[in-house]
Amino acid sequence: MFRRLVGRSMAARKARVALAVLAVLAGAAAASAMLSVSFSFEDNLAREFRNFGPNIVVAPRSDTIEVGLPGISFGSITEQGYINESDLSTIKRLPASGDSIVGYAPFLYQLVLAFAYGKNVNTVLAGTYFAHPEANLTGPDGKAWTTGLQKISSWGVRGSWVADGDADRCMVGAGLAKMMSLRPGALLKVTYKNPSTGLSSTRMLNVTGIATTGGTEDTMIFTNLAAAQELSSRPGLVHIVQVSALTSPASAEDIAREIQSALPSVEAKSRLQLSKSESDLIRQTGSLVTMIAAVAMGATALGVAATMSTGVLERRREIGIMKAVGAGRRRVASMFLAEASLVGAAGGLFGALAGLALGMVIEERVFGWPATFQPAVLPLTMALSILVAAAASALPIWRALAIGPASVLRGG
């Protein structure tokens, strides 16, 4: 009988019920869209930040080489500490943070004499990975996981990147290119003199691209790691590794600590200032989106409260009749709350579906991220909508129930 009473009552007020459902739907759509975006927001934003370059530098514990990222000193290059190239894949295999590793690029530095177009310039040649497949790691596409400068840097490149394994080509920083009038296609002669033996070795490198790095790398030459190792007779060794890692959920400091514990011979440091700003911004923006979702639900509550309040007041006579016929307050309240909950559920369901679609559009069109379907938003939005609709109805129902049936029925 309860279902029959509630069903008949709702069927008799199709327009009023539809209006209430619409009020819930609008709020639920806005809330679920924001919730949907907020669910993937931190991951996506952390990924966006990785476009700003690496945020962790790994160097040998004993190494004091003064290369790396601005503001972080690892000492002098003349102190020859090395990391084994074969250890690098350990970074991607870290149990807790492996999934947060976007990529890494090793660097082997050496002072060389560069010659082109009649000019000799002393500079640093860095051997590195550009887009290097790690044979023993599998990427999400099922192929070998690829890492290197191309993946972790935000450099602007005129020309093209050096292909992996190509030992005869290089890229040069924009500053050096200007100094030596180099352009893509130019031929560069580099000579390395071993400080221990005094022996020199020379290599001809074809310039494929000019890199604008915005840092000290603008004066360097970059070639494949294997070629650099061969030139300086340091096979399988690198000086430092730059790592790009997502700073959500773990912080860069946490990841650096895990790298150190996995590779005891190295020292890993995060770019503290940047990673803290990233974490703060991700957290603050995440909070903002959550607040917008909360405000949307709050606005829904007000709209639903107004609609429900009017509806309940219009039904005071009906409540009076039910009470006169013998209905207790709880029984009448449960009928009205059931109606409100059904309105909340219907509005919440359709609103959540619309909001999920809207969230995907926002992700794609506004942020340029891949659209993600967040199924958890559906039950969450429905539960919130039911709660809001029931809570918004509670006060007008309670007020209507407080009025004695005699005075309600006297009004006709």
């Binding site: 009988m1 309860f2 029959r4 009473l5 008949r8 009552s9 069927a11 008799a12 006579r317 009906e318 009076g320 009749i321 039910m322 009470k323 006169a324 016929v325 013998g326 209905a327 207790g328 307050r329 029984r331 004695g404 049936p405 005699a406 029925l409 006297r410 006709g412």
Partner: protein, 257 residues
Amino acid sequence: MVDAAELIRVRKLTKQYDERTTALDRVSFSVSGGEWVSVMGPSGSGKTTLLNILGCLDSPTSGSVKIGDTEITGLGEERLTKFRRENIGLVFQQYHLIPYLSALENVLMAQYFSGVVDENDARHVLEEVGLADRLGYRPTQLSGGEQQRVCIARALVNAPRLLLADEPTGNLDSENGRKVLDLLEKLNADGHTVVMVTHSNEVASRSDRLLRLVDAKLVSDSSSAILAQERPGPERDRPASPRPATKKDRLKKVGGT
């Protein structure tokens, strides 16, 4: 079925809405089980207030109202509601049916609130009031008389001891009014105690007793036979045709005051 023991005992019943408005002023009377009592008086004399207090829909300011063994004036809202649904059936001038429910569902609703839903029983009550062929009709599809009979069926379905009727024929034409009064008379003959508010001498003449209220005070408590000696007043209700002879016989049977 007729229980001649005192069913209602009202003593010094007073109801004040505010300092200036007194609806009932120290009203005292008793009603025996199986009696049919009419309450008459001009508008604003306190008739409906009295009925609302007897029906546990309103609370008095002071005084005592005992129905059966229960003193209802001290009961809280929930206990009043429980007492009402177990002991009292209400018949309204304006029927007060739920518009989106059928005749059967309006009756079932009253059962539902009392905790036991028996559709066969509800159908039977509607058949008794002559609405066997109107079970699925909504109030808007029924005539005034039919709506009033649904209202009476709803009042009867939980087998109350006391029927309270507030101008039950007030909105009906004479034919439908007569049918409703015939029905009330039958229910009374079956043992139901009836207290009925009316403006009409002719309607009141069907009852055993007549209580007259004027300016919130009970000014007379007499046999309704006295109405036969009075000149008919202006008809404020459209009355059903009276059957005083039948009433006189029943007065003897019930042994009214």
